[in-house]
Structures are given as C-alpha cells and as structure tokens.
Homo-oligomer: 411 residues x 2
C-alpha cells in the first residue's frame, strides 16, 4: 500500500490527541522529531517559570518553601508521574538526575541482597546506566561485578548470584522494548531484584510498573515528560521495599526531620529518604507543567498514535528513499518504543543536512539516525514533510557538503 | 558609643557597594536578612530565564546544547565561581547539589588515602555534611568511620589514621569561621586531605582556597551567589589532585567522550569527570547571572562591609533590646562569617513575629535567630529598621501570640 499525503491528513483530522498540539510552543519552520531527547516547551511552563522566578523567588523569597509549597514539590510532581507509569502516588519522588538515582537504587538493591555478587545488564545499554554501575562496583572494591549479556542470554544469565537486573525498558538507540513483566518474573524466580530505566518510556508507553511487579525504577524528566533541559529525574520504589531500601546518598532532605538539624542521619519514611540535597525548584516548576499535560492525555491513545507514527515513518522511508537506509529498530510496533532508528554510514552528515532544513532528529554513534515520535504534538502529515526532506537530501547528495561533516560537541 | 540612624545613613552614602543594590529585584516592604539561606533575585536573572526558556529551550530545542553553549555551562559557571574563591578557572565545576558533591569528593579522598580509616569533622557541622559521610561509610561496610570532635580538639585528633578532614568554613548556625590555612596545614602535616564546605563563605568572604593549600571544596549556589532556589552547587579539586581524583558517581557527562556512547567508563580529564548526569540548564542559567554580579564586586569591599554590618547589628541589638538575647556568634568580626545568630528560648516565635512585619531572618533549632548580611543589597540603615522591629516585638510581647507558635514544615 502506497501512503499518500491525503491519508495522513485524514489521520490528523481523526486524531483524538490533536488538540494537545496547541498546548506547546513549537518553533515555526521546524519539524521536531527529537522529543525523545529534549521535549518541547509547554506554553504553561512559560507562564509558570515567570511566576516561579518573579513571584515565588523574587517576592516570596525564603517564605516560598512553605507558602508556595516548594518543600512538597518532589513528592507532588512524583505523584503526578506515578500516574503515568503504573505506580502508586507514594511510590515516586523527583530528585537529582537519572544517573544519580541509578546509583542510589542499585546501592539499595545490593544491601537488600547481601552476598550476591552480580549486577546484570546488557551491552549497549544507555552508557550512564553502565557507568554508574561501574562506579558503584569499583567503589565497593570488587565484591560485586557488573555483567552484561545480550538480551537473548538474559534468562540463562539470571542465576542466584544476581542481586539486581538493570535494564532500560526502551533502548535509547534501537527503540527495542523489553518485556518488563516477563524479565521481572524471571529475575524474581532466582531471587534477584529489578531496576528499570524508563527514560525512553515514561510518557511514551503504557508503562505499568506494579502490573509487572517491578522493584525499582528511574526515569528522565526532559524527554517525553517535556520538563525542560536537564530537568530533574524521578525514582520509584515499590511499597514492599520502602521500609528496607536504604540508599547511601543520605542528604539532609532525606532525613526524617531535616529541620531538627540532628547530627545523626535517620531516614525519612517512604520515598522522602531518596531525596538528597535541596530540591531544584526552578527545574521542578517546569517539569510539573510538562507532567500535568501528559497526565491529561489518554495513555492508550498515546501508545496507539506512537505505534502508528512509527509504522508510517518506516513505510514512508522505504517508499520515498528506497533501500538506502538500514532499519535498526524492530519493524514490529509492539516491540518498539516511540522512536525509530535508521542506519547509514554517512548518518552524521545526513542528520546535519536534515537539521539545516529544520527537520530535527539526532545521531547516535556510530551510524544511527534517530527519529522520535511524540504523539502530543506531532502530526501525521509531519512525517510526510520530514521523509520528503530526507529523500531529497539523499537524491541530491546535499549531505556530502563539507559544512555537514564537522562534528559538534553534542551530537 | 551610641549608634544613631544618621550614622548609618552616612555609611550608606559612602558605601562603594551601594550601586549594586539596584541590580537586584527586592520586594517592597521587606528587610531581607536571609540571603545566607536564599539569595535574592538578580534583575538580570529575570531576563535570562525568559531567554533560557523561550528562546533556548522553546526555539533552539536540542540545538541549544551546541548553539547556546549549554554543554559548556558547568565549566563556564564554575570558572566564574573560581574567581570568587581563590581557585584557578580549571579547578571548579558546577554540578548536582552540595550534598552529592560532598559524597563524590569524600569518596575520591578515601581512594587517595587507602588504609586510613577516619574521616574527621566536628559535631554540629551542617547536617548534610555529616549525613553524607555517614551514608558513605555505612555503605563501605565499616572500613572507614566518621569521627567528630570539637574544634579545639581538631589539632590533636588529626593523626595519621585520618584520611580526610571535612569542615564547613563558616558554621551555618554560629557563623564562626575556621582558619582554613592553619587547619589545612595541620591536616597535611599528618598526611590527611581537606574538604572545605564553602556554602556560607563563597560570595561572602575573601576565600582563598589555593592560598590555604586546600585539596577539595564544595559550596552552594543559592545563598550568597544568588543562584535561585535549589540552584546547582559547585566543587573544587586542586590541580595537583585532578589526575588522580576518581569519584564513584561516574555518569555519562563525566566520561572522556560522552557522545561516543562506549560501554566502559573512562573519566574525562580535569574537572569534567566530576559531572554525573545531564546538567540542569535552567538552574545553571539563573546561577550564572548571580555569579556574574558577584564577580564584578570588589571582594575586599564585601568583606569589610559584611564585618561592619555584623558589628553594627550586634551593637544595635544590645543598644535597643538590652540583654534579652544571647550572642551565639563570635563577637570578633575576624572570627565570623557574614551572619550573626542570637539565642532566645522563644526564638522560633520571635522570628515568626519579625517575618510577619517583613523583617526576614530564619530560625535554627533549638534556639537560634539567624540574621544574614549580604553586602551587595543590604543598606546600613536597614539594620536600624530591623533591630527597631525586634526591640518593639520584645517590648510589646507580640511574639507570644498563638499565631507565631505553629511550626511550619521549613523553618
């Protein structure tokens, strides 16, 4: 079946999520296929940041910790995120970065499984996940090791030596999705715990942490949650572990009574013990607005549109570009998150040429062109325009120009 | 000598720092003596936040990592802070929170002093400093212990078992200042390293880390640096330790080549290895403006005015309030940072009554009323008004009203 522009326009007309597009401040002349790296600006976040800066900080000053509810923001925004990932409101809190939260929860898991010497993951997991585990185990002096095995070998690698299985639900490069419920059950069968990185799934899929029996999770605020550049991250601890999960970054905000100023750390109940330093109020303010929009959208509509966008994109690329690209991502939508990666040896330059035309995706070394599909603000017809640009760049050879070859600091 | 209002007005007329007041957006009807807890809003930060949100995030989106220089912000703001604390530009970087940075550098110090089993500090240090050490040592399974001794006993407690001495240069409650050069020399004499928490001194004193031979330091962005609520923090590693200082929160932003997406962590050269997750751009943007103002002020003028403000405040309290308050802080300005604490059993209620009148200080359990002096935006005559309110509250007994008794979440 050949896709036509008219078909895509018809899909936009019938899209129940179409009204959400107006809630975002999208730049003109840009087709943004990189919301999986940095989500766009919600209009409500613009007004909120002015209020947070001018009123809460400027006028309220220190009084805003109580009067503007700053002190409750990590839990309040966490509770809103919980609704997006199949968690109870009291199982999620916002703090620090995804990286720091991985360290906290991996360390907590090791304490819950003393004597077990392996943390299991997969090669090519998002680097920070592996790096944080390497820092953690290096620091513990070799008593615990990080082992990475290919996804297909995970079931046999799950033995009673494994303390923790850490996986990213949707792979940052390929978009391949793990079966969270199945792998969690397999981990539990050998007495291991699970830590799921939801950076590429929260806000993009119907994540169901409790349905899958997950133990721990972390995730990113600045991708599908539209929380702004470097937004604070979130972490999840299942209720059954909350009383026993103790993490080493035991800062004052995680104390049972931070304003008693005791000399001895005593962890707060529930999720507050996973806070560390003073919460980043400006970042939390923007994130709260991004999450609020997402919370109003129907999760099944998001997943349905996300899958359809990905399917149509793959088909359009083949239709317009022929076979010049490899498909890194799974073709089957049910095995994919909300982005699609293509491979090409000149991937970096091709992506630069696309960006120069206002079609923004990103490049992941060594050869992946990555395109993210964000159902709240992307139109079906945008796919037509984006792939037409891509086809034109390939046919014209425009990407071979020198100006597209120079690597930037951030790719 | 009796202080008069006219004397204070004359001091304001001759104050070389007076023009700086206009750079801040101060609320009307407020006398703000809490800049040591949360600094006020720089006018430049208002405009900067609009630019960061609407232009850089909203329009530039992912391109702003390169085009708006986001990726360089941790080092760039760090270099600006370096100029305030006697460090080289390549010795400071901005990342995470003060708490998280304490963990990083204390862990790095332990690796540089293997076999030594004590981290030394003082009782009553700011809680998060002690809590982070407790988390660190708990996590290491008892091989290292945290020992706290009174300041007078530090010289004898410094033995060749000590790996690290962690002190806050200016005490958060008493305002008492340690002699950084002397204690650093004593630590070095027994082979120990030093980690200085500058939260209450960066931007308030003439800190000279390299002059004192300090090894490591951390500090807060939201106090005297006016970086906004929950601003990111900074950390310092002396050049001589940079090649060997390895910290366990080894996130992707600390990797030598973050966008190579390797599976194996390899620390960046210099200070970048002390980054962990994705930098908090909104917080960094506000902080950069606060630091820029501070960088234009003459450091000796700041210290001179800070000391004079403190001296005058103490004298005015005695002049107007008699002997109802104890003086927690050192009377000698040279031994004090930039805040003064008074003691009173009804301290909490008295501070609430002051705040209700728009005179904002804060309370630190169990009995300290804390008043911070920020030379860039405080006038000498403000002291007169503030202490007159305090005297009136004490004479009228107004603080005994029920409405001032209820403890808020944040004190």
């Amino acid at each position: 079946m050949t896709i036509t522009r008219a078909m895509l326009e018809a899909l936009d007309k019938g899209d129940p999520l179409a009204p959400f597009r107006d809630e975002f401040d999208l730049p003109p002349d840009v087709l943004y296929l990189d919301g999986n790296s940095l989500g766009v600006l919600p209009k409500a976040a613009k007004a909120r940041m002015v209020r947070a800066v001018e009123q809460e900080w400027g006028r309220g000053l220190i009084r805003s910790w109580n009067e503007a509810g700053w002190i409750d923001m990590p839990g309040r925004v966490g509770a809103a995120i919980a609704g997006l990932i199949g968690a109870h409101a009291d199982e999620v809190i916002v703090a620090d970065s995804t990286s720091v939260n991985i360290f906290k929860l991996a360390a907590a898991a090791l304490r819950l499984r003393p004597g077990r010497r392996i943390i299991l993951s997969e090669p090519g997991n998002f680097p920070t996940d592996l790096y944080m585990l390497q820092g953690l185990t290096m620091f513990l002096g070799g008593a615990v090791e990080v082992r990475t095995v290919a996804p297909a070998d995970l079931p046999t690698a799950l033995t009673d030596e494994v303390a923790l299985l850490l996986l990213t639900q949707v792979h940052y490069k390929t978009g391949r999705m793990h079966d969270m419920a199945d792998l969690t059950a397999r981990a539990h069968a050998v007495g291991a715990l699970t830590l799921w990185d939801l950076s590429h799934s929260a806000g993009a899929l119907e994540v169901n942490l409790n349905g899958a029996g997950a133990d721990f999770a972390v995730g990113c605020g600045y991708k599908y949650l539209n929380g702004g550049p470097g937004a604070p991250a979130f972490l999840f601890v299942a209720r059954r572990h909350q009383a026993d999960a103790v993490q080493p970054l035991s800062g004052w905000m995680g104390h049972a009574a931070p304003f008693a100023f005791d000399d001895t750390y005593r962890p707060a109940d529930g999720m507050r013990r996973h806070l560390c330093g003073t919460p980043p109020i400006l970042g939390l303010s923007a994130l709260e607005e991004g999450v609020a929009i997402m919370a109003r959208a129907d999760r099944s509509h998001i997943r349905e549109k996300s899958q359809r966008l990905g399917d149509l994109f793959i088909t359009l690329v083949e239709q317009m570009c022929g076979d010049v690209f490899g498909l890194i991502s799974p073709r089957e939508a049910g095995q994919r998150g909300s982005h699609v990666s293509l491979s090409h040896l000149d991937g970096y330059a091709i992506m630069q040429a696309l960006i120069a035309r206002g079609v923004i995706g990103d490049f992941r070394a060594p050869d992946a062109l990555r395109f993210g599909f964000t159902p709240l603000y992307l139109r079906y017809v945008d796919l037509w325009e984006a792939v037409a640009h891509l086809a034109n760049i390939m046919q014209s050879g425009e990407y071979r120009q020198d100006r597209f070859q120079t690597k930037a600091a951030v790719t």
